[in-house]
């Protein structure tokens, strides 16, 4: 599935907020066309790492490259779809108005915009709630609408920070199906998660702990290398807890 052409290159990146070191010398390559998972407990530095990729944080040391160009760059932002941990929606407005607003920020308009709105709402199964005010949405619905907004401008690269938090298993599966479908069309997807089970769904994984990268590989490789039956066990071995 992955063509081994690097789309993201993180080179010796470190980041500290004041004295607190959040990321320690991370180097990582993510290939075009893969679903890449960043797995780690909360506080491991996942969000800081993805925020750097979108340009919302600047590393203290090291460099990030997207599509072979150095971040941050406004030109590159257009090619990325980002979904933050918070839903970031305007509650007073309807779903449609939220979508129209964010769509036009990416230069979508008219019929093209309306067509995309219907497509993405179909993907997250919210079509019937299109004209409902967002403050009437449930937590899971908001999460899905937030995802729909990230998909709106058909980005080549999707960066999703904890996309399935608070979503029930049935819906979670349908969202993952949507990820595979987008991936089949060539979209590279980066997902952060702290749910070990969800990590198995990714093509490749990076394990993060206390700001350090402890392992990278496919789920099977990680399990084989550690003689583990699950990612959770593998994480413990790499984390040095079970060694």
């Amino acid at each position: 599935m992955s063509s081994h052409e690097s789309i993201i290159s993180i080179r010796n990146v470190s980041k500290a907020f004041g004295k607190q070191e959040v990321l320690k010398d991370i180097s990582l390559d993510i290939n075009k066309g893969e679903i890449f998972g960043l797995l780690g407990p909360s506080g491991a530095g996942k969000t800081t790492l993805v925020k750097m990729l979108i340009g919302l944080e600047i590393p203290n040391r090291g460099e990030n490259f997207l599509f072979h160009e150095k971040m941050p760059s406004l030109k590159l932002i257009e090619r990325v779809g980002y979904m933050a941990q918070s839903d970031a929606l305007y509650g007073e407005l309807t779903a449609k108005e939220n979508l129209e607003f964010f769509g036009s920020l990416f230069g979508l308009k008219g019929k093209g915009l309306q067509a995309r709105i219907h497509e993405v709402m179909e993907i997250v199964q919210l079509t019937e709630h299109l004209n409902k005010a967002v403050h009437n949405y449930s937590g899971g619905m908001k999460r899905r609408l937030s995802l729909a907004i990230a998909l709106l401008h058909e980005p080549e690269l999707l960066i999703l920070d904890e996309p399935t938090v608070g979503i029930d298993p049935v819906l979670r599966k349908s969202i993952w199906d949507a990820f595979y479908e987008l991936n089949a069309k060539g979209t590279t997807i980066i997902v952060t998660t702290h749910v070990m089970g969800e990590a198995e769904k990714c093509h490749r994984l990076a394990l993060l702990r206390d700001g350090g990268l402890i392992a990278v590989g496919t789920p099977d490789e990680l399990k084989e290398n550690t003689n583990s039956s699950s990612i959770e066990e593998a994480f413990l071995v790499y984390g040095g807890v079970n060694a």
Partner: protein, 342 residues
């Protein structure tokens, strides 16, 4: 166009939020109406006692416009003062009047004294000061306190409400994460600030038109100048309020902390806005005036509304207000660098 998308969204949000819209338009109207009733209400009718007044004298006095009670001895009059049934009395001792006032309320004292002076006018020889014709360069003897305060208050309310609403809505943008989402789109930082200015600018034009029309045509506030200048001034003032509000929201973590800026940033401006005579403010404080936007707006509004000033007299004030706005816009853009460096 991205700025257009942004200001359309802001207008939609304001329209959806009926309560906020009501606050922005009806709260100033309500307060102005109350002030109008308080300051331009009926004149106070003093209650005056006359003790031992000779009949010949009484016929010469103007005794209209006051509640007169006649006493035959001073003791009863004194008791009535204690019981507050009269505000003061005049004793005639061998045709020489002396005045005793209750004295606890300066406004009542003033009204009573003015009445007494009027009443005794016929006794004074003609041609003294009280007979002089008074000419008004601006305003008229019809002008009430409200007409003098009004323009300042008009500016103040617009400043206050726009500051608060814009500050809180920008704060929400930060706390809900939508600001981060805006910054993870190709939207430029200046486009965010301009979008806010245009969105709230359109709303402020509507807000000012309604409030100013109400004050002038319904409450009958003095209006010597052109309506369009009043709108221009309030618009420039609201840009200042908006850009200051969004800027300060960067230093607030929640709505309550935004409210905490009111006594620090908003209320002190009232003191320097011309509501009180600036010359009587102590010297170690009055240098603050020129640093407050309301100072310039209030001056310009009063010039237009009371003195009928035109463009030549107000453009400097407008320039200063726009200068404040530009300064705050630059600081806003710098503050946004905290979120995205480019």
């Amino acid at each position: 166009m991205r700025v257009k998308a942004l200001f359309i969204r802001i207008l939609r949000q304001i329209i959806r939020d009926k309560r906020t819209m009501a606050l922005l338009i009806f709260a100033p109207i309500l307060i102005l109406t109350m002030l109008h009733l308080v300051f331009n209400g009926d004149d106070y009718v003093p209650k005056v006692g006359l003790v031992d007044i000779p009949e010949a004298l009484e016929e010469q006095l103007h005794l209209d416009d006051a509640d007169i009670t006649k006493y035959t001895d001073e003791g009863t009059a004194k008791t009535d003062i204690e019981e507050k049934t009269i505000d003061g009395y005049i004793v005639f001792d061998k045709n020489v009047p002396s005045i005793v006032l209750e004295g606890s309320d300066p406004n009542v004292n003033g009204a009573t004294m003015r009445w007494i002076q009027e009443a005794f006018k016929p006794l004074q020889p003609a041609g003294t000061a009280s007979d002089l014709d008074i000419e008004y360069v601006h305003g008229s003897d019809e002008m009430g306190q409200f007409d003098y305060f009004g323009p300042v208050l008009l500016g103040f309310f617009i400043f206050f409400f726009v500051f608060l609403i814009a500050g809180v809505s920008f704060l929400r943008e930060r706390t809900t994460g939508t600001l981060e989402r805006l910054l993870s789109s190709p939207l430029r930082k200046w486009e965010i600030v301009v979008g806010y200015i245009v969105g709230f600018g359109i709303f402020t034009v509507i807000q000012s038109t309604i409030i100013v029309s109400f004050a002038i045509y319904v409450l009958g506030m003095l209006m010597e100048g052109a309506f369009i200048y009043v709108l221009l001034i309030t618009l420039a003032l609201s840009f200042t309020a908006l850009t200051l509000g969004t800027l300060l929201s960067a230093f607030a973590n929640n709505e309550l902390q935004m409210i905490q800026f009111i006594p620090i940033v908003i209320v002190p401006q009232i003191f320097f806005s011309g509501l009180f005579n600036l010359e009587t403010i102590s010297e170690w404080l009055n240098w603050i005036g020129p640093f407050t936007p309301l100072y310039y707006a209030a001056d310009a509004l009063r010039n237009v509304m009371v003195r009928g000033a035109g463009w030549d007299e107000i453009y400097l004030n407008l320039l200063v207000l726009i200068g404040f706005s530009v300064f705050f816009v630059i600081l806003n853009i710098l503050a946004l660098r905290k979120y995205r460096k480019i």
